[in-house]
Chain length 309, copies 3
């Protein structure tokens, strides 16, 4: 029996470096299996998704991950047409969905929603994004991508640029990186700096530098993780336009970076990375999306299939 | 060949006690099969759903039922983005869906819609709720739950409380109970009493008592079936609040009931049953939801699979 | 290896008569396979759909086609709740969807969108309707239906009636018919005549007659292909009502046609064909829908399965 069997995935903070490495090894195994053998792992099993926030990207990643290991998916991708509209509690919806499926995937705007759901559900629960800080499977996908593309995580210099205040992806990634010996540069406009209350714990484990100036770090970075800056976050449009331009990753910026630096992005991208970067050997955001499918296949397989694979 | 093979399910009124018992036996068989054997029953078959009213709950129950017996589901869960918007008739939509699937599941606001669809479709049709009175698979699920939890239906004292005027669930359940020797208490506010025109037939077969006072019946009941009272049904909010409170099933009420009485609810629940009842041995509404999945699996299996299972 | 393996389907103009006949032969093979054997063709494969215009009919046709050959479908049926709302480009969405699936099915309002997607995607792309003129799988379905029901296409007299200006179906069908020796009558109100710029090429290959008068052609036609006339297309409602009436296909009209003429319609139908025609031996529009499922199964099978079937 593998250690993830029937376990929930609630927060990236719950994982040790050793456990993360186990997940990476399983993902490599999945990648090396034939499609035929993959489909045996969760044959006939059902994933139930409950998305209280729309996220087509994440939902389809889980759906395709489950399909590739032989299972199927059902659920509510958009609560506006569902019973929850009639006022049903999260608890009841989770209970019912745990009857309809072998594993639950929950996306919810509130912090703590996944842990709450896991306590209620008698099927394992995967947090597919909750509240302001948690998106553990995204962090696992990001870490796996770094490991895969740089052959290691320890010792790397990692820049994270964009909106560091509102994106839950960044917080989860930082907590994940806390397991490794890395040097992290947080690059954002002043108004979108990482929340200090949320980084109190991370700072104990990570070497963090905060800056508004991406230029001074470019030549030093092994990984540049780019996130979207949403216009809505700025009270003043002029402020937005000024900031936006300065963080767009283009060929010019790429030239000033290490030859083997990699560019990541959780996607969807708007224009934070110009399209001409896509074809460079540094662009790894589409590989990142593909690894996301396979890290999720590995997680689902380990949780659902007692024997692992 | 089993007697349900390729037959429609239109109305609970079409079933004899003997047929209901056959369905219960098949459901028990399904429950006792291994997941592996279950998935052979409708392997590769397709359920097509047409929901002219949104009902995530019922749709997912059918979807998961079909998945558990090896089939898959496709269809229209919400007509607002479909061809019917362009003015297509129900007849045409049914004809097309019967091309795309092996069995049709229809939810429609109009009385008679399912029977109409069944005449047109060359695939069997299951009524997943139509008009004001028909929801046969819900009634079968409810009867199976009573049978399973009380070991019998005949001889029971059954209270049905809440909105008895507008819920189609109640009418279908009453017609189903008409096959048994039961004593039924209909408990509702005056303005939400059961429609007398609809109960004319039922009254010939069932011992029905109508009341607004739940208290006087509590100590006598073997089953309390609770339904939602929707605020929208009351012209006067004060009237609503008065009524609402008096029918909330809580631990206090439970204490005055028989020790082995069971509480049912078709779900979704809002606050007709307090959450602290959930953990009592009397609360059987989540079991009821689970039985719903398996009664539907049994029905689908018998209709689609010539040999039954 | 079959010649369609891993190839895109972008435009009906890309196909020779010989290739169309190969597709028809494969569709016949699919029709003759047992459901069990069919399900082996694309077992475990995933179709990813991206619908930038809602089209429940076309999406379900693909979904059921894929299910019948053992595959499953996932995707975005309605972009309003998707990442594209956040401003993601078609290119990125296509890239991601090609990670999640083995074949892409794209519906998009812009001309050229499918060819663009095919250049970006590393999985084959099927155009499920784009811009004003292209709907290749619909044309293949229509041609197959004619072939199947009339035993030939060459030599037939084919009337196409209704809105010839705005329906992409008609343009694709005409280009498909360009491979055959047919006599085509285009029957429409003056304001909904076929666009002359779009028929310049077709006219070189097809014997086309344009008319507003359906009566004079009725007794001559082997095939009458009916399309919807949408009220919204008319600035003046009176104009609409006049036109609408004159093209409704009813029993009266049928009497004046050849005994073995067939009536086709891409569906959904509103009232262009009266319901009493449905039961005549001439009505073949529901067969047409069914053939649509199987031509799509054949296309998917040939593209995904190297060995064909």
């Amino acid at each position: 029996m593998n250690e993830f069997y029937q376990k929930d995935i609630i927060s990236i903070k719950d994982y040790t470096k050793e456990q993360l490495e186990t997940i990476f090894t399983s993902t490599d195994k999945i990648l090396n299996l034939s499609p035929f053998d993959r489909r045996e792992i969760c044959k006939g099993k059902t994933l139930g998704y409950l998305f209280y926030e729309p996220s087509t990207r994440t939902r389809l990643s889980f759906d395709s991950a489950m399909a590739s290991i032989g299972g199927n998916s059902l659920g509510i991708s958009d609560i506006t047409s569902s019973s929850t509209q009639k006022g049903e509690s999260l608890a009841d919806t989770v209970r019912i969905m745990s009857i309809y499926s072998d594993i639950l995937v929950l996306r919810h705007p509130l912090d703590g929603s996944s842990r709450f759901a896991a306590e209620i559900s008698d099927k394992p629960v995967i947090n597919a994004g909750s509240g302001t800080e948690e998106h553990p499977t995204q962090a696992i996908q990001d870490l796996f991508t770094i490991k895969k593309e740089k052959k290691k995580i320890d010792g790397l210099k990692i820049g994270i640029v964009g909106d560091l205040k509102y994106g839950r992806t960044v917080y989860s990634l930082l907590h994940g990186l806390g397991n490794y010996d890395v040097d992290v540069r947080l690059i954002s406009p002043e108004s979108l700096r990482i929340r200090s209350d949320s980084t109190y714990e991370i700072k104990k484990r990570l070497d963090l530098t905060e800056t508004t100036d991406i230029e001074e770090h470019l030549d030093d970075l092994d990984v540049l993780y780019v996130t979207r800056i949403q216009k809505e976050r700025f009270p003043d449009e002029e402020e937005y336009l000024k900031v936006k331009g300065s963080y767009v990753v283009g060929l010019d910026m790429l030239k000033r970076m290490k030859d083997d630096a990699i560019i990541l992005h959780p996607l969807p991208r708007i224009d934070e990375i110009s399209a001409d970067v896509d074809k460079t050997k540094n662009a790894k955001y589409f590989e990142q999306a593909e690894y996301g499918k396979y890290t999720r296949s590995a997680l689902l397989g380990m949780i659902i299939n007692e024997n692992g694979f």
